[in-house]
């Protein structure tokens, strides 16, 4: 299957942001029977987070965050990768397995429907709720015309 980089970024992002328990519960039946080889067993490390003040300023090092990464391979030689913030090895392993399967045509639609769409809906709902909450107290700053000329 020909997967575009954009599509892959999308599903990797959804799985990385999903709560580990939900991701594992949703995908258990799809993945459990599949034989994977672990190329890089889930391992925990640190990565430096960079930030920009206001999103536009000069970048600075904000601090370190724990990161778990994992790589698996399916019998036909497709590699699945995952980088997950935090220390949850089960989450990283499952995300890597799903990434490998999502690249295969035979499983793509099934996993998208069973796992990605519910997770994405939940994430969107949470985001909209947050936006709705904060917009109540939103203040727009603007300058009135001072009428000097």
């Amino acid at each position: 299957m020909n997967t575009s980089q954009y599509d892959r970024q999308q599903w990797i992002s959804v799985m990385a942001k999903a709560p580990a328990k939900t991701l594992v519960a949703l995908s258990d039946s799809l993945v459990k029977t599949h034989p994977f080889e672990t190329i890089r067993a889930p391992e925990i490390g640190l990565t430096q987070v960079q930030a920009r003040m206001g999103g536009t300023g000069k970048s600075f090092n904000l601090g370190d965050t724990p990161l778990t990464r994992c790589v698996v391979r399916t019998p036909d030689g497709t590699y699945g990768y995952s980088y997950i913030a935090g220390r949850n090895k089960a989450h990283a392993l499952r995300a890597a397995e799903l990434d490998a399967l999502l690249q295969l045509e035979a499983y793509h639609t099934q996993i998208t429907e069973a796992v990605l769409i519910p997770l994405k809906a939940e994430q969107d709902a949470r985001r909209h709720q947050k936006i709705a909450q904060t917009s109540k107290t939103r203040v727009d700053f603007f300058t009135l015309v001072r009428g000097e000329d």
Binding site: E37, T38, I39, R40, A41, E43, V71, R73, G77, Y79
Partner: protein
Amino acid sequence: MSRIDLIKGFANPVSDSQFAFRQLLKAMSEPGLLCKLTTPESLDPMSEALFASCQTLLDQQTPIWLSKEFDTPNVRHNLSFHTGAPILDEATKAQFAIAFAGEIQSTESFHKGDVEYPETACTLLLQVNALNGDDGDTLKLSGPGIETDVYAQISDLTPAILTYLTTRPDRFPLGLDLIFAAEDALLCIPRSTHVEVC
């Protein structure tokens, strides 16, 4: 061009590399002793013991040098992936050199350490066909870690390696430490060992 394939690393990176490190420590402190090292998959053309040693000893802070035979896109990619070690073009600054023993025509280019920092010397990871098999030179080892003396038979030794081991041109504590690997076994000859060719 050969296909680049990521191969399996240690199944349990922490405990497996601790076990492998303990084996290497044992082999290094008792020169001539054969120790077993295994890893789930071997990286062509590396032996199992050599790839296991690489996963154990190398990290981002150990620059390595690869000999011509080992310098393939596949080896480079897998070593970078599993160890993150920077790969140098020149042997002089490498902390570990990976080669077939038969390729070593001179030991000049490897760093032998400084008097202030003898531990910065290069460690040679050399692959051979057989250890304590039927072919190769028999070496008589004695010195620290060996009660009286011990015999080791190593194949593919070049005159350059034999001359280096028997004459020891660098005064202790300077010098090269050698790790010989074949299939799933390895033995070490550190710089402190006295070597005679039988």
